[in-house]
């Protein structure tokens, strides 16, 4: 078992010394920003030339829905949100610390990315995980 939480997804990076962040990459030919790592650009077709970038923790709410029915064991309701990050990159995740009511969740709301335990979920080896969430700023 790892002595520290593992990242819930590959594009969440946990540096040895420093704060966790979301990792993306940027095409050096056309400037398209992608979540995570990749070799080639699916916007312009450029081969190689992807530069690793640290994505911003600031963004705005692009779209969302309020999930009332999910799989057994998953707490509902919760807000599934699409967030555009400042400087590029779009990420999906849970929007927390808001009332799950449509009139309480304005489009374009400024949000920040926060990092916390992955809702207590552990893998079969008992490892804990670190995940990311959005909350209003």
């Amino acid at each position: 078992m790892a002595d520290k939480p593992l990242p819930a997804v590959g594009y969440l990076k946990i540096p040895e010394n420093g704060k966790p962040y979301l990792q993306g990459c940027k095409c050096s030919s056309c400037g398209a920003v992608f979540l995570g790592e990749r070799d080639n650009c699916s916007k312009c077709g450029a081969r190689g030339g992807m530069e690793e970038v640290q994505l911003s923790n600031q963004g705005e709410l692009y779209s969302y829905c309020i999930v009332h029915r999910s799989f057994p064991g998953i707490e509902v309701p919760y807000v599934s949100a699409i967030v555009d990050l400042e400087g590029g990159g779009t990420v999906k995740g849970n929007l927390i610390n808001v009332e799950p009511e449509p009139d309480k969740i304005p489009f374009g709301m400024p949000v920040e990315v926060v990092y916390d335990d992955a809702l207590g979920r552990k893998d079969r080896d008992g490892n804990s995980y670190l995940s990311y969430f959005f909350q209003p700023r």
Binding site: S63, I66, V67, H68, G93
Partner: protein, 381 residues
């Protein structure tokens, strides 16, 4: 190149048939379509079979093992919810190319109940409910909310789609459900993913549909032109790169691209189309496609549903079959079932729900991931 015609087409009544196998369900529609044009399986030069749930299970061959092992080529197709339309299109392309004179396309699916999508990876921890939701109702709710953001579309307007399509289905004996669902019933149904309630989600059903496609000379030789349906356009697109597409599936851009190509290929515009069967996998999705298919300018889809323009008897009836919301959505069969519906109207055989004087119709499906299939059909002259 020859023109290609649908000479036989049919579907089974959608329902739940756990006691049957997928090939058995597919065989039923295949035989119905053959009967529709009076041909036999021995007349078919190839079989294009669409199925998703058993994509590696040689469903097409197993259909022939049910109804006639003639040794013809079988092409099994899987393309998400565009599976049936893709099988149909491959069949059409083979006739257009002159490879065959008459071929069979079958779409079939046997579905479980419950939420689709949201499956996690094999390693680590489950992501559903941790990184938002990947269930289909949530994904299409988010797509609908994007429309709300841009155009102020309301929960009530989305709900009206479901009222309309359920009403249409009361006139379709092959639909899964024939029940009226008034607006209050739709809006007060169990909320699945706001703004989609349970009655705004397509029905998971088992079903099959099939079409016999022939070249013009073959259709004439068989004396079948009087009920034949000309395929004026067949288009398939995938998702072009869009800023958010890899995180938030974009059903709009691939539909707009397909619609543009289809109208060009057919030499018609949206104003020439008399009825449309489009991919209302969720009520939110239908609203988006009024604009994507050019039925109205951007931002007017909400007004279209409010004004009743998309009802039977309206300016451009949409999903008079009851749509995926009430007819049901057996994934691999849906694309061909749409072609059956439009063909039935063009033949003037749709009974109570007949779109009067229908001359040109359009079918549309979206497979998330993504694939968009559009066909424009016309009664042969």
């Amino acid at each position: 190149m020859t023109d290609a015609y649908v000479i036989g087409v049919d579907m089974i009544k959608f329902g739940r048939f756990p006691e049957k196998t997928v090939p058995q369900i597919g065989s039923e529609a295949a035989l119905l379509a053959l009967d529709d044009c009076g041909l036999k399986i021995q007349d078919m030069q190839a079989l294009y079979c669409g199925n998703l749930g058993q994509a590696s299970g040689m469903v097409g061959q197993r259909i022939l093992q049910e109804i006639g092992q003639t040794g013809v080529p079988v092409i099994n197709v899987s393309n998400a919810c565009a599976t049936g339309a893709t099988a149909f299109r491959e069949a059409w392309a083979s006739v257009k190319a002159g490879l065959y004179d008459v071929v069979l396309a079958v779409g079939v699916e046997q579905m479980g109940k419950g939420l689709l999508g949201g499956g996690g990876g094999a390693t680590g921890i489950p992501k559903e409910g941790l990184l938002g939701s990947g269930t289909m109702p949530a994904v299409f709710a988010e797509a609908g909310m994007e429309h709300s953001r841009k155009h102020g579309t309301t929960f009530e307007q989305f709900a009206k789609v479901s009222v309309k399509n359920h009403h249409h289905a009361t006139m379709n004996p092959k639909a899964m459900y024939q029940i009226e669902t008034p607006l209050e019933t739709v809006m007060n149904a169990e909320m699945i993913s706001y703004p989609n309630t349970k009655l705004m989600c397509s029905v998971n059903v088992d079903g099959s549909a099939a079409a016999v496609i022939a070249s013009e000379s073959k259709a004439r030789e068989l004396g079948l032109m009087n009920r034949a349906i000309k395929v004026r356009a067949s288009v398939l697109t995938s998702d072009p790169w869009q800023e958010r597409d890899l995180v938030m599936p974009d059903v709009n851009t691939c539909t707009r691209l397909a619609a543009k190509q289809a109208y060009e290929m057919a030499g018609v515009g949206p104003e020439d189309v008399d009825l449309i069967e489009l991919h209302d996998c969720f009520a939110t999705a239908e609203i988006l496609h009024y604009e994507n298919l050019g039925l109205c300018p951007d931002g007017e889809a909400g007004r279209m549903i409010d004004d009743g323009e998309v009802e039977l008897g309206g300016k451009i009836p949409v999903n008079v079959s009851g749509g995926l919301l009430s007819k049901g959505h057996p994934l691999g069969a849906t694309g061909i079932a749409n072609i059956y519906e439009v063909s039935t109207h063009l033949r003037g055989e749709a009974g109570e729900r007949q779109v009067e004087g229908a001359r040109i119709g359009l079918t549309h499906v979206i497979g998330l991931g993504s694939a968009c299939g559009i066909h424009i059909l016309e009664k042969a002259s």
